[in-house]
Symmetry: C2
Subunit: 343 residues, 2 copies
């Protein structure tokens, strides 16, 4: 029992050839009822399980796909990863997860596939890698990019329209009569493409409303967690003028903003309206509940897997890379409830 048994062991025990056992296991060929029974018995007795390494070697496919995300503990990526694992299971795929921690080197390593070929395909959410560099990496491996533009890309891409979504979020704040609208979440040092797009949508909305974008309202952050949001909010409150609204590029940042607002006695939404992005579970139970841009996460998962499947199973992969835009909607909750505006 220590050393796991193989087809050969089962065959010996059942008094048939290894090939027949294989046929029973896979239903490949016709097997007489009597033989099938004997083989099945031997399988049960020996506790035989097929060796997937051998199978993969033979088939040239592993049935394993990779998912590379910045951080699993971040709620957005946790939710997305959960959906991807489930949807992948539906396709009989197993998912291995890697965390890049927003490190360019880690992203590069995964894209290049250092350390060998296990994965049939890779879904990656690049955070620190410049779009140009992603495009340059030539790979035989099917790759789907999440939330990053893929310019002359060799890879498929699945994402929401970040510019439009950010525009909507900002416009929502402007509609409430707010004019000192801060944006929290820029990451200029990382060349984070997603952040850049959201900043662009933010500025576009301001301009359309006749408000000139000002640098003082655009707050860069080190990372995208609650603590970074809280810190950015504190800086704003310590500045010359306090904002009357905040568009945070992620819900986590927004929750940090809410936290700091509480701590400093700023009333939300009366004195400060807040919008986030991602629609994570927390935002539905925070105090106040969080208005946010909600991407259709399940659809992101499904479409990403569909892209992979197309490339993995297509005999010749001359299909041009697709660039899928996933629907989103603005979910209005307590943090932007129409209230008395501060003087």
């Amino acid at each position: 029992m220590r050393v796991s048994s193989s087809l050969k062991d089962v065959a010996a025990r059942a008094g048939v050839s290894a090939r027949t056992v294989s046929n029973v296991v896979n239903g490949t060929a016709r097997v007489s009822e009597e033989t099938r029974r004997r083989v099945q018995e031997a399988i049960d007795e020996l506790g035989y399980r097929p060796n997937l390494a051998a199978r993969s070697l033979r088939a040239g496919r592993t049935g394993i796909i990779g998912l590379a995300i910045p951080e699993l503990h971040s709620p957005y990526f946790g939710e997305l990863a959960g959906l991807l694992v489930d949807e992948a299971g539906r396709r009989s795929w197993t998912v291995i997860i890697d965390q890049t921690h927003g490190d360019a080197e880690a992203e590069r390593r995964l894209l290049k596939g250092d350390g060998g070929r296990v994965m049939d395909g890779l879904i990656i959410s690049p955070w620190a890698l410049q779009a140009r560099e992603v495009a340059e990496i030539a790979r035989p491996l099917p790759v789907v990019l999440l939330g990053e533009r893929s310019p002359q890309g060799r890879a498929d891409r699945v994402a929401v329209d970040n510019v439009a979504a950010a525009d909507e979020a900002t416009t929502h704040l402007l509609t409430l009569g707010r004019r000192r609208v801060a944006a929290i979440g820029l990451q200029p040092h990382l060349h984070n493409g997603t952040a850049e797009q959201r900043a662009e949508g933010y500025r576009r909305a301001l301009r359309r409303a006749g408000v000139t974008p000002e640098v003082q309202w655009e707050r860069p952050v080190g990372a995208l967690h609650r603590e970074d949001g809280a810190r950015a909010m504190a800086e704003l409150l310590d500045g010359d003028a306090a904002p009357d609204a905040v568009f945070a590029f992620t819900d986590e940042l927004a929750l940090g903003v809410l936290h700091m607002a509480h701590a400093r006695g700023v009333r939300v939404p009366e004195e400060l309206a807040v919008v986030g992005f991602d629609d994570i579970e927390d935002g539905r139970y925070s105090h106040p509940t969080l208005t946010t841009v909600s991407p259709d996460k399940r659809q992101i998962a499904q479409r990403a897997l569909q892209c992979l499947a197309d490339r993995i199973y297509s005999p010749d992969n001359e299909v041009p890379p697709s660039d899928l835009t996933i629907p989103h909607r603005l979910v209005v909750r307590g943090s932007t409830a129409p209230g008395t505006r501060a003087a």
Copy 2:
């Protein structure tokens, strides 16, 4: 470039044998500088990556371990999974993640290893499976159980002392002068061992303080999410007497409790003190911030992996199963800040 190249291809190109290429790749044997250079060149030109399936087949090991948890999107498991993935990477292991959704059948399937052997070992957090059943499943595969007792177990176990921790949490509430202490999180229908232990600690603390445990204060839940906590809290508030404290078996439940308290105008911590369990990130930014039992998650990850490593690498695995208790501490925050007690 379509079909990935093998040692043989590289060998042909470099004018050496496949074995020599293997030696260059792995640094297995001495290779002359000149040969190494030629081989490396061929590797780069062909974009060769070792085929891990073949390697695994030869080695009898895949370098892949499995992690089976109820749900990836739950913050506690997300944080834990993130730590496990990182710590596993440090050991050059890759992690495949499965979600059981608290389904007994799914847990059983994973433990039995249906579908073949890919994993060198499995870390599983059983939620619905009865301890007896876990113990009965004989496996050649090294298994580590998280947070579940493993009675006559063949498997290692890593967990906090749930009884003691629940006792501390409850005692903390009693110390504040609260006497109508509710417990939210029992799952009698699932035979959830962890929940049972926390309930036991809760009752023990009450008795020690001279308070008789009453059924009306023990609220079962369907799942352990925020919505379940909110629902349970609503039921309590709709009941005959309102509690003046709640011990929620997970932070998620506790956050649902806070949410419902806000919605019903119950002031926390003045009228209601709340303690959670898990110390998830959200609880540090909620309003009020959440008092909680904080298990040392990194240590859980490290110890679990150490157990696996011991079994995977030990020549004869006659090592008796270990049962490791992970330290925890009560982190007091806003939700139990000493305040005016309700009349």
